[in-house]
């Protein structure tokens, strides 16, 4: 196997809180290869967000080792190795869509001409061409979320980390965005870490599905997808898809069983 882009060995994280320690991650081992689309699924509080934040260097594990591009997550963050998409779009209301997408570019010191070119390119990529000069409140929730994805894509990081990016959207919009996300992944070859609560979404998108379980947060199963990379929406009715979804469901149930 080629060097993994993200590698976690015995990662452990305990939050110190006023009500005592919270064991959010316990002995997490996972390798993510370049170009993988890895979904994290599991009940609320199982540490999905926490693990993604560890990868992003926003949270520091209290044990184990975690590397991103052979660097520490902190170094990778400084090297701007990834784009992060939060659950809420979190666009700045005082900036236009174009201005929001430009934000990381301004901070990272891209040239003006480069900025304009990139904004146009990533807005095209998420199907928001022509909305550059609109303000966030003029867009639907789904469009805002696409804009936030464009913002994460703008500086061409190889890794895209997404924490329930479509959690707040209705199913039809979500289907559409899932399709677009796959197309984008195929086109860009990025490595994607994706948190979701939805089994169909995880199965439809991923090359690997990581099933997690809470108290303490840990990985209970890693399912390799046998689906081809080319995936029309109809694939969700195929026996193969249903079989994988079934395995995920079983994994989730097993995780719950030994509480």
């Amino acid at each position: 196997m080629v060097d993994p882009v993200i590698s976690a060995t015995a990662v452990d994280l305990t939050f110190r809180t006023n009500d005592g320690p919270v064991h959010a991650l316990k002995d997490v081992n996972l390798n993510i290869a370049k170009g993988d689309f890895v979904s994290f699924i599991g009940p609320s509080g199982c540490g999905k967000t926490t693990f993604l934040r560890c990868i992003a260097g926003l949270e520091t594990p209290t044990g184990g080792t975690l590397t991103v591009n052979d660097m520490s997550p902190e170094e990778a963050r400084r090297a701007r190795a990834y784009g992060y998409v939060f659950q809420a779009a979190g666009l700045y209301p005082w900036r236009t869509i174009g201005g929001n997408v430009k934000l990381p570019l301004e901070i990272m010191g891209f040239s003006k001409a480069d900025q304009a070119e990139r904004v146009k390119r990533v807005l095209d990529l998420v199907d928001l061409a022509g909305f550059e000069n609109k303000f966030p409140w003029q867009l639907s929730g789904g469009m805002q979320q696409r804009a936030s994805i464009a913002r994460a894509l703008a500086f061409d990081a190889d890794i895209l980390l997404m924490d329930e990016p479509f959690g707040a959207l209705d199913e039809i919009v979500r289907d559409h965005l899932n399709e677009q996300l796959l197309a984008l992944w195929a086109r860009t070859g990025k490595t994607i870490g994706f948190v979701t609560h939805s089994i169909p979404e995880a199965v439809y998108l991923s090359t690997r599905i990581v099933v997690m379980s809470p108290r303490p947060g840990r990985i209970t199963d890693v399912i390799e997808s046998t689906l081809p990379r080319e995936r029309p929406l109809e694939i969700r009715d195929s026996p193969e898809f249903i079989a994988i979804a079934h395995r995920v469901r079983e994994g989730l149930r097993a995780g719950h069983g030994d509480e």
Binding site: L58, F86, Y92, E106
Partner: protein, 306 residues
């Protein structure tokens, strides 16, 4: 537009009505004394006896005197038309450079106000940035800022004037310092709240870009704090005006709204005092109005729904 103006006009009309009604009882004793001096028969016919009678009763018993309560030279409460007349006389009817002109006095107060407001606002913003970025400053500055506002400005103002005077600093600057003293506080409080208004997710987003603290301030915290800043500026500018006027009172300043109020009081010219009071109120309203307009303009620039 009409919908905004109508409630305001209603309130103004009510206030004006109350004022007009109040003039009669407030002035009736004075008016009766004056009428008697002018040879009109008044009941009861001695000032001492009249003092025993309530204002309303006195008015009812001397209906002929009532009208003159609105035209006394030294009323306890001038009629609105008298105040308007005095305002007209001291603004439009005299040269702005004249010592009689409220425009001249207004400019004296206004210049101290604006200078003090600029100092206070700058200080307020600098302190707020310090408080937000430094825990030490948060713990050390904020209590002092709050404590500073518990000292009555009426006690402090003469001290500032006297101390600065003994250092040879007079005129504009001491008054501006008092204005700054009053106006920095709302700015500190509002800006601290505003600079802290971005949520954890917005701050994390900047961390993923590895943005510097200065970039965080510039790209996120400042823009997010603008609505708070404008709210503070509107309070701050009126506080600054009050500060400048208070700064004119204790030293017997010769110019400024405060000086006019004092002169009116000391030389028994209530109309002068009232006109200065109203001119100050109008000035404050205009200043606040300017900031409200700037606020709307900036909100539109920043994409607020029209």
């Amino acid at each position: 537009m009409m919908r905004n103006v109508l409630p305001i006009l209603t309130v103004v009309a009510v206030l004006l009505g109350v004022w007009l009604l109040a003039v009669v009882p407030m002035n009736i004793h004075l008016a009766a004394d004056q009428a008697q001096r002018d040879g009109v028969a008044v009941v009861p016919d001695t000032p001492a006896a009249r003092q025993e009678v309530g204002a309303v009763a006195l008015a009812v018993r001397n209906p002929d005197v009532m009208a003159s309560t609105y035209t006394l030279e030294r009323p306890a409460l001038p009629g609105p038309q008298q105040v308007v007349g005095e305002l007209w006389r001291t603004t439009v009817a005299v040269r702005p450079s004249s010592k009689q002109s409220l425009i001249y006095h207004g400019w004296v107060t206004l210049s101290a106000t604006l200078l003090g407001f600029a100092i206070g606002t700058t200080l307020g913003i600098v302190l707020a940035v310090g408080i937000v970025f430094s825990r030490t400053m948060d713990l050390s500055v904020m209590p002092w800022a709050i404590a500073s506002q518990t000292i009555p400005i009426l006690a402090l103002a003469p001290m500032i004037i006297v101390i600065m005077g003994s250092l040879g600093i007079q005129g504009l600057l001491p008054k501006a310092i008092i204005s700054a003293y009053l106006s920095f506080f709302p700015v500190v409080v509002g800006m601290v709240k505003g600079l802290r208004s971005p949520d954890a997710m917005q701050l994390d987003l900047l961390r993923t870009y590895h943005a510097s603290p200065l970039q965080g301030l510039w790209k996120l915290r400042f823009p997010a704090s603008l609505p708070y800043l404008f709210a503070s500026l509107k309070i701050g500018i009126s506080a600054a005006l009050v500060g400048a006027i208070v700064g004119e009172l204790p030293t017997g300043a010769r110019a400024g709204f405060g000086a006019r109020m004092l002169v009116g009081d000391q030389y028994g010219q209530p109309l002068v005092t009232w006109a200065a009071l109203f001119a100050a109120a109008i000035t404050a309203a205009v200043l606040v109005g300017i900031f409200a307009m700037l606020e709307r303009w900036s909100a539109r620039r920043m994409g607020a729904a029209a």
